[in-house]
């Protein structure tokens, strides 16, 4: 509750001190937990919190034979607007109906807290931890993890963060009653397209018909990016994309998927997308090109009879394995350049990019996590291996930098309103998740020796 009360909104400059307070809160807790090395690493942005239980466990027991785990999480949260849609104030957490409500309850303070609490419980019950534990906690996940990425490029980062496995609890389970482990995330490639026509807004009566309208040109460009079948119609876009394997398609097809309830949840009358693929395949396994925003000209009440001087669109693509963000942006820019009519010019701005990430469900670290989850979530079924449509660029970054497998062992639930008013976390999952973590550490600690990354 104390952690949730800190309004650590990383995107708003006025909350800078709150974000720092959340970092100091975590550092203090880690010290209280017995971590001999706790460091608040300052960056040009928000700080990183680093901790290492050391080659020996907190009480001096040798633990070098067991693997080392690095736990990643974030202590920053999303903004809270629209504030009037919250049933209780976002930074005054309350428990109602078996759920804790408050900004960050599930994303990600609640799940970071589970890790601290699980380690505390384990130490109290067993006297020590059965493996070496490191933490890297950041305060910029809701912006773009800029300074964690920068830190990862530092020479000392590799040694500081070195681990046999990275465990992250920042993802939702597939559905209530379906404990799951995420084995893939899509990548991302973002850009902005600006179309420029006349050097000032023109009277649409006087000049209309004789001048290329930047808003129309932009609309025609965007329309040209997909064909009638919902496929992306940009030469080269799919070059690196491998078809989904029959095994993957079969596994996903066996998952329960209720199209009607998804439609109800997001408020649409029907799903849409690329022909020949199921909704799960479209969301998890196929690349996309989405307009995140578009604007140009007059947006006020009534009518303003202008040909706007410019029009703009923000676009993000979601990428699948093997697609290179730079190459994808190259293909889009080439299409813009080739398709632009006379009388207008364009600017193409490249923004963030990150590759997709996939891991094999066969990796023993994932198998052990699944076994722990199966034990502690009393649903009578094994966890399912799923993918997610979103991107967590820090996942491939950690995996590559540390050459270690990443286990996305998340305990949130879809519908817990991450990023939205009335964010909450189910207490039953908080408890079962903590038990799962304890179980997981005991399993890994019982292994004879560090494993090579799988």
């Amino acid at each position: 509750m104390e952690f949730l009360r800190i309004p650590s909104i990383s995107t708003l400059p006025e909350h800078r001190r709150d974000v720092e307070a959340a970092a100091r809160f975590l550092a203090r807790k880690l010290e209280e937990l017995g971590f001999p090395l706790v460091e608040v690493i300052t960056t040009a942005g928000h700080p990183l919190v680093y901790a290492d239980s050391g080659p020996r466990s907190a009480d001096g027991t040798a633990a070098t034979a067991a693997p080392t785990v690095l736990i990643y999480g974030h202590y920053d949260v999303q903004p809270v607007d629209p504030l009037d849609r919250w049933d209780s104030p976002p930074f005054e957490p309350v428990i109602r109906d078996g759920k804790v409500f408050g900004r960050g309850a599930s994303d990600d303070k609640g799940q970071v807290w589970m890790h601290l609490a699980a380690l505390e419980a384990l130490r109290e019950a067993a006297g020590s931890w059965p493996l070496r534990v490191k933490f890297i906690l950041e305060g910029e996940e809701e912006t773009s993890s800029t300074h964690l990425h920068e830190f990862l490029r530092r020479p000392e980062a590799r040694e500081m963060l070195a681990a046999d496995v990275v465990v992250i609890s920042d993802t939702p389970m597939y559905a209530p009653g379906f404990p799951s482990i995420c084995t893939g995330l899509r990548g991302i490639a973002a850009c902005q397209i600006d179309v420029y026509g006349p050097d000032h807004d023109l009277h649409s009566g006087v000049y209309g018909g004789a001048v290329a309208n930047p808003a129309t040109v932009l609309a025609r460009l965007i329309a040209s990016f997909h064909d009638e079948a919902g496929r992306i119609a940009i030469p080269g876009f799919y070059d690196a994309v491998e078809p989904l394997t029959p095994a993957e398609r079969e596994a996903w097809a066996s998952l329960p998927f209720d199209e009607t309830s998804l439609c109800r949840e997001i408020g649409v009358s029907a799903l849409a997308g690329e022909e020949g693929y199921t909704p799960l395949e479209r969301m998890w396994g196929r690349p996309t090109l989405e307009v995140n925003g578009i604007w140009g000209g007059f947006q006020g009440e009534g009518t303003k009879t202008i040909i706007p001087a410019s029009a703009h669109a923000k676009i993000t693509c979601r990428l699948v394995p093997h697609q290179d963000p730079g190459a994808v942006l190259d293909s889009i820019e080439a299409a813009v350049r080739q398709r632009l009519p006379a009388g207008v010019s364009y600017r193409f701005t490249r923004m963030e990019g990150g590759r997709a990430w996939v891991t094999s469900p066969g990796n023993p670290f994932l198998q052990a996590a699944a076994a722990a989850m199966a034990e502690e979530f009393a649903f009578g079924r094994r966890p399912v291996f799923v993918r997610m449509g979103g991107s967590i660029p820090v996942v491939p970054a950690l995996a590559e930098r540390l050459e270690a497998p990443v286990v996305l062992l998340g305990f949130a639930l879809p519908g817990e309103k991450f990023h939205a008013p009335n964010e909450h976390f189910h207490l039953e999952n908080l408890r079962a998740g903590m038990r799962t973590l304890v179980d997981y550490w005991l399993r890994l600690g019982a292994w004879p020796a560090p494993l090579a990354g799988g």
Copy 2:
């Protein structure tokens, strides 16, 4: 100068009293000019100023045999932003280089003033006016002339405004050195299209690929409104459109038209538009569909990975003779309805509409105006009959209500920055225009009897 100093910006509520002050200023001037009947007509918006010299001229001379002229003009002006682009304050008029600079100098206070000054000069020189003169001056031309239109529908309006010809000086000449009379205006049909998808912005990673994106849908709709040849691809849109006559095309082709200098003036590298037509034909004689504004989703700095809940466009069409604004909007809405994919809904909002207006250059009132202009503008050439791409809905409204020909006898010049910073009016045209008006009234006054509208 006193008239120009009144900041009568009709669109800004804080200038309401200034607009009223401009109306009172005109009423006082009309009384000083000797009009026996001057009335400030209050409306739910800004007032109308009405004057009538009566069936006899101001000095009692019978003038009933000559035609009656109704002069229309407006005393409201456009807003002045961006203020920092003005070389001198917009409401502190100054004379530089033979031009008077100030908001309203050409649009339309300067041209209204010419009418008052011409009548004053004529009375001083000749002792009386050779014809009956009426004025109807409004303060809402820069918004939408709402209350003038409302007034025109009143039963008494027809008798009050009854005239043999309506003369309006609110248009530019074709080019410097080319006195011209405008014989046609395009009509207008305005609408807004809203496309609604999910009931809130969705995470474009989690859901991207499986949901129709309203911004993309809107872009595809807009793209579908034109074909590759720049023709409007909406069934029924051109149904009422008659081809341009060979005579019109020939007359317009004979006008000097410098494509390079137009491109430079508006800041584009090339003109564009419907294949098979010249730029003048596209601007004057062909209907258009222009996006005046488009918006949806994220417009800030950086990236926000959403599928926007909705996307919006404001559209105005310019219409040519015989096109009905309602039918044109019907055709657009039908296209939207038919082309909308599953998973989104739309709202189609009809806004202002007005028919095109054309008059025959052969009408004797136009011929007389041309003769007066030829006499007083020492360019050695006859005025040219041109059209304009814009719409002045009050022109067809007056023509229909009064069943009288309208003569658009404007003395402004393109490049005089109407609606923009540094609006100005050339004093040489002010003087030649005043002489033209005096000449015109003398010609009409010499006619034996009122003419039927031509």
